[in-house]
Amino acid sequence: MWETSLSGLAGGLLVAFEPLNILTCFIGVILGTLVGVLPGVGPVVTISLLLPITFGMAPVTALIMLAGIYYGAQYGGSTTAILLKLPGETAAVMTTLDGNQMAKKGRAGAALGIAATSSFAAGIIGTLAVVLFSPALVAVALSFGPAENVALMVLGLVAAVMVAQGSPLKALAMLVAGIVLGTVGTDISTGVARYHFGITELRDGINFVVVAMGIYGFGEIIANLERPPETSKVTGTIGSVYPTRDDFRQSWAATLRGSFIGASVGFLPGLGASAGAFAAYTAEKKLSSYPEKFGTGVVEGVAAPEAANNAAAQTNFIPLLTLGLPSGAVMALMAGAMMIHGIVPGPAVMTQRPELFWGLIASMFVGNALLLFLNLNLVRVWVRVLAIPYPILFPTILLLCAIGIYSLNNSAFDILIAAVFGLVGYVFIKLKLEPAPLLMGFVLGPMLEENLRRAMLLAQGDASVFLRHPISAGLLAVAAIIVALSVGLPLLAKHRRRAALSTLVD
């Protein structure tokens, strides 16, 4: 199996290294970086706008460029997350936690450098996973039915509470608030629109990007306005622009773990780069010997989610390329692009159009190398963004956010929603509530509901289905162990302390 993979890859490298393909790959990753940096403007909009331009290109050249936009955006998404606490992409939400703290301590350059290098390492690992494991991963992906998805969502929600800084009770409250927000919109099983208050735009629920932009972008700006200018600026000296040797020593393991987590979440249909980033950050915090420092600007907190979202961006292609099943909006667009060029995505692509299949995969190596070069050089440029005076910077960010939000669905109503969430975000900052669990609840809650109802329906109401399916039972067991450890260990420690105290008194 691997021999065919490697010989296929060799052929693919020849295609990827054709000058025209290198050029379009470069154009793709530059565009991707750009739209990643621009808040709200995402790869979906960009790819759909550029689709007509690719009509005249050879199919492989077109796909190389479009794919470059997608994974390039994962690199770019971290930039504003670190500098401005504004996730440029959904997947960059976790990067805001430690990345922005690093920037506030004058280490923006280091954070950006770590983000770029860990994204690069993950991109290579993710692409290798695509090369070596595509057939095997497909089998696993297909075995994920509604019951397995439910167990995965439960695990994700449990993890969401663990990720949070400070009080678990506050985190739980935020998580529930997120799940409640997620119920707005049309219920898939019955077609009934819920909590839309007669507003047509709310019939399809609220877009994740709109909520994230509002809470993080708008909220942060409002909060900054009331602070006196001198303290609100990121500490004057930017320090060394690049990460130190210590940064790499501290973060390489997190990068590897993040890559593996991202690569293995990325190929599951319906999940994507953001779930990978959530999971990687949680795992890193659990494994760390100083979990309390997460959220205050530790390098691992940047390396792990950045690695995960980029690895996931590569393995996201697996279901499409091997089965013809797109796992999200971007992949649906890629499928559309293939169809327009006369290629039906599916198992036949690998055998009938090997130059296309392997050329696209090989181009991901090229693209990631270009992105590393590009982003390390851009660090100096981005860091200067912090030197822009706030009276210019803030309106600019607001305007870019508004344009980005409008571009999602050509809807001005979405900008209003974001403004409302801006106020909500400001209140959260005042109350010291961490928004990350809310966003995780918002993403995972509706998926949990949809899959739970479907699993119960297909099992004819027999709830034991979750324990009878081995994968779902395993995932639920992991969730149970995490809860037991987090609730049990502190209780045990308290008990011991009390016991020790009482013996002392005796």
Binding site: A329, P347, N409, R454
Partner: protein
């Protein structure tokens, strides 16, 4: 020059000022096709293929604008409010009529839009997992009748013809399926191919690659005649279920009041696009059967189709309620 042709030229010269002001320069700016679909959805792909070829013919860019949401209401309202000058078209489908029943508060499509052209038709297909021992529709129904509720069918949405078709089949055969509703065709196909659901009732386009790869077995199509993409698969009518004959379509509408000259011009140009071998090839690959015809043809199809679905929805008592 014969007398007749002189008369004709004279007549044309006299009529020209009437058509001239409207049509002479049309189109002098980009034409926008508004679709209620995310990029990559089937109406989006169709509009992009047609737009690409139409743009080459009329010498102006054709822009596809995605305004999804509200079961089409957002795109419909936008186009209904747009100037009736032919520069804004609505790319829509038979769902325009179906949704009118489910969402009576939407703009009335019959008074808000004027038909331009039917672009394509597309069969709906009932397919089962190929590892199941179900060779044909009769075997499928026998199995469902033997164990009520045990047969699972995936459909891509409550208001889709896949769901309505499944309900019609239950009604006409007396079988009882467990119908699992998905947000779109992709995740539904995913769960069927993964072995979690037994059958799927869906538009042929997304299912075709999986039927051709052997993962799914098509057991019946809804078209009146067998579809060219699957010549070996019988129609529901052949299998004895005449009431299950219907075709899904997609087409283009303009805001009501758009001058007839412009509607006719767009109709002729899109008809010409549908005749282009290159465009046909791209359409067929997506399992879109190129349609065409006059604007009036689409009007008739739309009226009759809407009446058909209204009756089905009433007969099966389909309501958007828990």
């Amino acid at each position: 020059m014969t007398r007749l042709s002189k008369v004709l030229i004279l007549a044309a010269a006299m009529l020209a000022p009437l058509a001239g002001p409207v049509l002479a320069q049309f189109p002098e700016k980009p034409i926008t096709i508004v679709v209620s679909a995310q990029p990559g959805g089937s109406p989006d792909i169709l509009a992009r293929i047609i737009g690409q070829h139409l743009s080459a013919r009329v010498g102006q860019p054709v822009v596809v604008e995605n305004r999804s949401g509200g079961a089409g209401a957002i795109a419909n309202e936008h186009v209904a409010r747009s100037p009736a000058d032919g520069y804004t078209l609505l790319g829509t489908a038979d769902s325009l009529g179906i949704n009118r029943t489910f969402f009576p508060d939407q703009v009335d499509p019959f008074t808000s839009f004027t038909p331009v052209i039917q672009a394509m038709s597309s069969p709906q297909v009932l397919a089962v997992r190929s590892d199941l021992d179900i060779p044909d529709l009769q075997a499928f129904l026998d199995r469902a009748l033997a164990a009520p509720g045990a047969t699972t069918v995936a459909v891509p949405g409550v208001t889709t013809t896949g769901n309505l078709g499944s309900l019609m089949l239950e009604n006409q055969s007396g079988a009882d399926f467990t119908i699992a509703v998905y947000p779109s065709a992709s995740p539904a196909l995913n769960d069927v191919i993964g072995g979690h659901v037994e059958a799927i009732f869906v538009t042929l386009g997304p299912a075709l690659p999986h039927i051709q790869s052997g993962a799914l077995r098509a057991i019946a199509v809804t078209t009146p005649d067998r579809t060219p993409s699957l010549p070996d698969v019988p129609t529901f009518g052949e299998a004895g279920y005449d009431g299950m004959t219907f075709t899904s379509w997609q087409g283009y509408f303009a805001p009501a009041g758009t001058p007839k000259e412009i509607v006719d011009y767009l109709n002729a140009e899109i008809n010409a696009v549908l005749e282009t071998p290159e465009a046909r090839e791209q359409l067929l690959l997506n399992a879109f059967d190129p349609a065409g015809g006059s604007a009036e043809d689409l009007g008739v199809l739309f009226r009759e189709g809407t009446a058909f679905w209204e009756r089905i929805i009433k007969e099966n008592n389909v309501q958007l309620q828990n």
